[in-house]
């Protein structure tokens, strides 16, 4: 069944895409730590599996490792005043060494190890379905958790800090703490994604994360093209975007494009999507009106307002 691999990949990388969504769309912070925390999750999971840890535990620890990495980035930018973009690059760079230390070598094959998928096979599940049985509940569960979290007071405060720092501050929200926790959550999910992908692919590699943030962004942007609106729609959109992106990759590879061109194609896709979203192709008449109907109602009470506006535009 040809639809299974892209769906699996879309769900596994979907957690990373959700992480990118938190950083780029909720916190409005271009965080590149992701490129380091994805292989961090893979490294943690792989070396723990080598040591005989239960697969589920490795995923939890990978999440915590990602949280820690995110905390460092968040602290660098929120407490020490280093620009967020730079903070991310610094931690990403440092993580390269950290990941090598954790793994002890650049690559760990997991072929003989008991991964989550092997465990399921052991329980008699057909090999074809094992990945979906793991990824579907995990990714959907994380999606639901995020939906709940972002709608609590804390989550709303998090979104406020990302959207308008002065307002959040004036409301008594410690934006430094919120930013740090947000970046931590983002990288926790990314590392978790890395741990799942490593087990699924059967290896961990220090270079697993190179450019991953752009594939996450591609998923987020594709998702926005598919669905936009409230939090529920945004989260669903990101996951659908991730699946769409992996499907495109899958089709591209099937058509014979060399895998080495993947990043170039992804970069082009992101640029195209960003440009298109700025210069919408839809005719003006179909775009959402930015002037509200209530403005007209208000103008009725205040004669002259409409006139002035007309003059203004003329």
């Amino acid at each position: 069944m040809v639809w299974i691999p892209p769906l699996e990949q879309g769900l596994a990388y979907g957690l990373m895409a959700l992480g990118v969504y938190i950083a780029f769309r909720i916190l409005h912070t271009p965080d590149l730590t992701v490129d380091g925390s994805f292989p961090l999750g893979a490294a943690v999971a792989a070396s723990m599996l080598m040591g005989g840890s239960p697969p589920l535990l490795t995923i939890a620890v990978a999440f915590l490792a990602g949280v820690l990495a995110g905390m460092v980035t968040g602290t660098l930018s929120a407490r020490l005043g280093i620009a967020p973009l730079l903070s991310g690059i610094i931690v990403m760079t440092a993580l390269y060494s950290v990941n090598l230390r954790i793994m002890g070598r650049p690559n760990i094959p997991l072929l003989g190890q008991t991964t989550l998928f092997r465990q399921l096979e052991g329980l008699g599940v057909e090999r074809m379905w094992t990945a979906l049985i793991v990824f579907l509940p995990v990714t959907l569960g994380v999606g639901l958790f995020l939906y709940w979290l972002l709608n609590t007071h804390w989550g709303t405060a998090l979104r406020a800090s990302g959207s308008s720092a002065p307002m959040a501050n004036a409301l008594g929200i410690d934006i430094g703490v919120q930013h740090t926790l947000g970046i931590a959550l983002s990288n926790g999910l990314t590392a978790m994604s890395g741990a799942l992908v490593a087990q699924h692919n059967g290896f961990a590699d220090v270079n697993l994360g190179v450019g991953i943030v752009i594939t996450g962004l591609a998923s987020v942007i594709l998702g926005e093209a598919l669905l936009n609106g409230g939090i529920a729609k945004q989260i669903t959109g990101v996951l659908l975007g991730s699946i769409a992106y992996r499907s495109m990759v899958f089709v591209g590879l099937r058509l014979g494009f060399p895998a080495s061109d993947l990043r170039l194609a992804t970069a082009a896709l992101v640029v195209a999507a960003l440009v298109l979203s700025k210069y919408s192709l839809r005719p003006k008449s179909l775009r959402r009106p930015t002037v509200e109907p209530t403005r007209a109602a208000a103008a009725q009470e205040r004669p002259g307002a409409e006139e002035r506006e007309v003059k203004h535009h003329a």
């Binding site: 909720i26 979290l149 709608n151 609590t152 007071h153 804390w154 989550g155 709303t156 405060a157 979104r159 406020a160 990302g162 959207s163 308008s164 002065p166 307002m167 959040a168 501050n169 004036a170 409301l171 008594g172 929200i173 410690d174 934006i175 930015t290 002037v291 509200e292 209530t294 403005r295 109602a297 208000a298 009470e301 205040r302 002259g304 307002a305 002035r308 506006e309 203004h312």
Partner: protein, 264 residues
């Protein structure tokens, strides 16, 4: 009651430094509405930022209702102090809905827990409060704020600032970014909402009519100090022209045609 004693704030620039507040003293009795005028760079915004906590002074004390708050960071003053910014985009968050703003405003300065923010009660409250504005916003509590006009956003910001009755309200040219008719609307709301609740208020304005018309006291600032303090009968009797003249006299490096100072 708000008591400011000996506030001093200097900003270092590439060439030397500039004194934004120098030995600034002010006492505002509880419930008083004070308007503040002064030319560009007089230190009005710095004063409000210092009181709110987004600017930390080198010297001086800030006492609000018996509590010394000068050492607290801004987010730890929010329980008592609320503010409306000049820029509607700063005072409201584009990505959030009106109801979400209301939910956060109700928790201003308090612990933001892990309970659902927008409950039915919040939406109900939201509709009720928005109806006061008379802008039709009560029909759409779930609209994102980026879909509102500048005036609507500013009216909303004002409404939110008054929730949970703050001990001190700070308004920094909160109508300056609006077109004249919307500015008038927001100013009328300011008058009706704030006066009704008798909240201690500092309002910076460049509109001399508003400065004399609204509230009970008018301060004029220059070079980081108060150069004129008017209240009561003296203030009531003053005309716009007289105030402009007085300003020119008081200002050390007086430039009579300082267009930036006042508009009437």
């Amino acid at each position: 009651m708000l008591e400011l004693k000996g506030l001093r704030k200097t900003f270092s620039l590439y060439s030397g430094y500039t004194t934004a507040l120098s030995d600034f003293n002010l006492t505002v009795p509880a419930g008083q509405f004070v308007t503040i005028v002064g030319s560009n760079g007089a230190g009005k915004s710095t004063l409000l930022n210092a009181v709110a906590g987004s600017v930390q002074c080198e010297e001086g004390s800030i006492c609000l209702d018996g509590r010394y708050i000068q050492d607290r960071p801004e987010h730890r003053r929010a329980l008592f102090v609320s503010r409306v910014f000049q820029d509607p985009a700063a005072g409201t968050a584009s990505d959030l809905t009106i109801a979400e703003h209301m939910a956060l405003a109700k928790k201003r300065g308090q612990w933001m827990g892990l309970r659902r923010a927008v409950t039915r009660a919040v939406v109900h409250d939201c509709r009720e409060q928005l109806a006061i504005l008379g802008l039709g916003l009560e029909e759409r509590p779930h609209s994102k704020v980026k879909e509102l006009s500048g005036g609507q956003r500013q009216a909303l910001a004002l409404l939110l600032a008054l929730i949970n009755k703050p001990r001190l309200l700070l308004l920094d040219e909160h109508t300056a970014a609006l077109d004249p008719s919307t500015a008038k609307l927001v100013m009328n709301l300011t008058r009706s909402l704030v006066e009704k609740q008798q909240i201690t208020t500092l309002m910076v304005t460049h509109n001399i009519n508003h400065a004399l018309d609204i509230g009970q006291r008018t301060l004029m600032m220059d070079s980081g100090q108060i150069v004129m303090d008017l209240a009561g009968g003296e203030r009531d009797a003053l005309t716009v022209e007289e105030l402009i003249k007085k300003f020119a006299e008081k200002r050390r490096d007086a430039v009579l045609s300082d267009r930036s100072l006042l508009t009437s």
